[in-house]
Amino acid sequence: MFRFISLIVCLVVGLNLSAQNTSDDTSLDSIQFLRTKSKNKNFEMSERIIFAKRAVVLSKETSVDSTILKSQRNLAYLYLITRDYEQFRDINYKNIKLAYKLNDSISMAIVNNSLGWYHYTEQQNDSAYQYFYKATKLFSKLKKNQLLFETLINMADIQETEKDYIGSEATAIRAIKLSKTLPETEKNLNRLWIFYNLLGVISGELHLLDDAIDYHHKALEICNKMDNGLDNRLYSNNNMAFIYRKKEDYKKSLTLYEDVLKTNNLFNIDPPFYALILDNIAYTRFLLEDTKTDEIEHLFNRAYKISDSVNDTSSLMAVSIDMSKYYRSKNQMDSALYYANKTYTIAKETNTNNVILESLLLKSNLEGGEAAKKYLSEHIKLSDSLLNNERAIRNKFAKIEFETKEIELQNEKIAKEKQQLMIFSGILIITLFLLYIIITQRAKNKELQFIQQQQETNEEIYNLMLSQQDKIDEGRAQEKRRISEELHDGILGRLFGTRLSLDSLNLSTKEEAIQTRSNYINELKSIEQDIRKVSHDLNTDFVSGSGYKDIIKTLIETQTAAYELKYSLENDNDINWDDISNKTKIHFYRIIQESLQNIYKHANANSVKISFQIKNNVICLMIIDDGSGFELSKARKGIGIKNITSRAKEIKGELEIKSEKDLGTSISIKVPI
């Protein structure tokens, strides 16, 4: 009964915890409402179950697993309190699947605990143990110490029942350690008492009698702390007395039993226990070789009567077997056999194996002959099978732990692999990111380099133009010097000579002198001619405008020579290149250079025609080749074309590219000046 209540508490706690996840979605409101109604104790139990079932149905319509699980757990709780265990089991089987699917640890733990409890009550101890074990693992992981503590009671009990004393002891010790983290409530103290009592019983079974006494003393100390520790104290004392009897300290044992018996109103509180105490007192006195046999027999008979009247099989078995042993020693074989048979029958009925064994031994001892042999062999057979069973169960427990541990190891391994995968993908992402940065940086650098290169070429052309200008200036200066020298050395000298001669002849009137004078006058004529020539030279500006034209011509000449192209260059003489900005000239130069390169690389042309024309202050540069042409849409993205486009845009030029397959390409750029 006590464990039943503790499970209910556990289920309610679990539900409240998961209720925190309640969604405020309106469609969930009705489900929530139904669940609340199902918890309302003012309704009839059957009504509450109907509400809970409807909540489950509505939840299933939402197809939200967490909602379904919550409603089903609510229903499971109602099945439990109405003790409808079959339904309770079935719904928990559904819940466990959902909980694992959702990986909802708290639900997983609680549902495991519920199923453990179900199998425990059905005495399917191995299944129960498995569920409890899983529940404890989960509770421990979730640090739900209280729930863990409560579950450990069931586990330790199962282990004790299946005679896995060492396992049970370990579980109990673990629980006792855990109890230190928990509040010292009445219920927890009671649980703690259970563990100490269990340890005492186990130690007794293992014949560690001093340890057993210690444990029972501790259990008694806990009883002192409890407000309502009377029952527990009685049980503890009884158990302690049993240990002393085992220790053959019969006097001490008897004192303890008699103390218990003195308890007020014990008979009314717990008649079978009362009967048991009577039996124990009688048997202990018999062991003490008390001579008052009638008193002993009286005690036995009373104990037998009480337990028989309340029909408590366990106390009845205990009394019967003790009486049988008593009568055997008194040589009243018939009575001894009667009680032995009685014990055997009840033990058989209740499947109490250890009692069956003991009663079989007794019977073989009492009857002798063939019957004794038969009982003995039955005893051996049963004890062997029991031993095997115990072993099998212990193995099973070990296996459950082992398997869980193995799963844990596997999980750990998976987690490790996941972590490795994460690290690996992290590194991969970082590497990719770095790679991306490097690539973009490289592209940027390339672009910068390209711009720099462009600027350098622009500068080069500019310098070329400047040097051309220098050359022109130098040429002008030279020409000036040449004219000056010609005037100074040639014409002036001759004029001077002629003047001097004429001057000298001026005085003479001789015929000869007149003749000579006319020669000098002719000389003056020839000097006139020379001066005219110099004047003409001065008038023709032999260098004006030739600079840029020459640069372009040199460019085209050298490039077409390298590309083995024929070329023609037309330059409209109306274009005054000196007045056109350097920027425009530089871009024209580069466009021509780029176009020639493109023609060489792609066009496979024989000749190229380049012309500059001017009309209405717009200079039109045309570059026409007779090459293979190209598809405009495809070539749009080529670097060459891109450069030309951007350069044309820079000088606000209007670019037009025409190309036809096998007919060549023409590029025209119209730039306003």
């Binding site: 000298g493 001097l500 000298s504």
Partner: protein, 224 residues
């Protein structure tokens, strides 16, 4: 008594030599016999001089132009070089420099290095002047053209004293050579040249650093 005057005329323009000849022949005195050798370049001139120096009758007068085609061995580049040479091989010969150059610097340079007996500027020259110059040089040298005389006079009357290097700097600047290119022509460092230019500007009381005003002032004072 007949007197033979031996003359070597060096000028690259035959017309000019013809002019000289015509003038001299038509204006010589009755007693004078004129014997003229003609050289059109430095080499010819040097040949005549060498020949004359060994003969009994060396030249009495040398007519030398300044700008002449240089000699083939590159030793003689101008009339100045020929004049120097003549001074060494024909110490008795009187030298008449006839030139188109009339810049004070060149004129002063020639006066200083050659100190010719006659210095005639072609643009000034008339045939009568040449005739009188010829006679003057023969008997009471020196004889200078009016232009040369005025240059000399200007330099003497000016309070400003300008040494030969500073004169050269002014001359080069006047020819349009830039300050930074002066080191190619003068054996001085840039800073020294700058320093001299500064001194010149103070000398000619030109406050600002404009080269143009310096040249104007120098020209006014007859240094260029």
């Amino acid at each position: 008594m007949q007197e033979t005057i031996r003359i070597l005329m060096t000028d690259d323009h035959p017309m000019i030599i013809e002019g000289y000849q015509n003038t001299l022949l038509s204006t010589k005195k009755e007693s004078q016999e004129i014997d003229i050798d003609i050289a059109n370049n430095c080499d010819e001139s040097v040949n005549y001089m060498d020949k004359a120096s060994n003969s009994d009758h060396p030249y009495d007068i040398l007519f030398l132009d300044i700008s002449l085609p240089p000699s083939k061995d590159g030793k003689m580049n101008s009339g100045e070089d020929l004049a120097k040479y003549a001074r060494s091989v024909l110490p008795e010969a009187k030298i008449i420099i006839l030139t188109m150059f009339n810049e004070p610097y060149r004129v002063q340079n020639i006066l200083k290095t050659i100190n010719p007996e006659g210095f005639l500027i072609k643009s000034d020259l008339t045939s009568s002047e040449l005739a009188s110059a010829f006679q003057a040089i023969l008997f009471r040298p020196p004889f200078y053209s009016g232009t040369v005389n005025s240059i000399i006079k200007k330099t003497i009357t000016s309070d400003i004293v300008v040494d030969s290097i500073n004169r050269k700097i002014l001359h080069l600047l006047a020819q349009g050579i830039k300050t930074k290119s002066l080191i190619d022509h003068i054996n001085l460092s840039m800073s020294a040249i700058e320093k001299r230019k500064k001194q010149l500007k103070i000398l000619f009381s030109v406050g600002d650093s404009n080269d143009e005003s310096l040249l104007v002032e120098a020209r006014k004072n007859g240094f260029i």
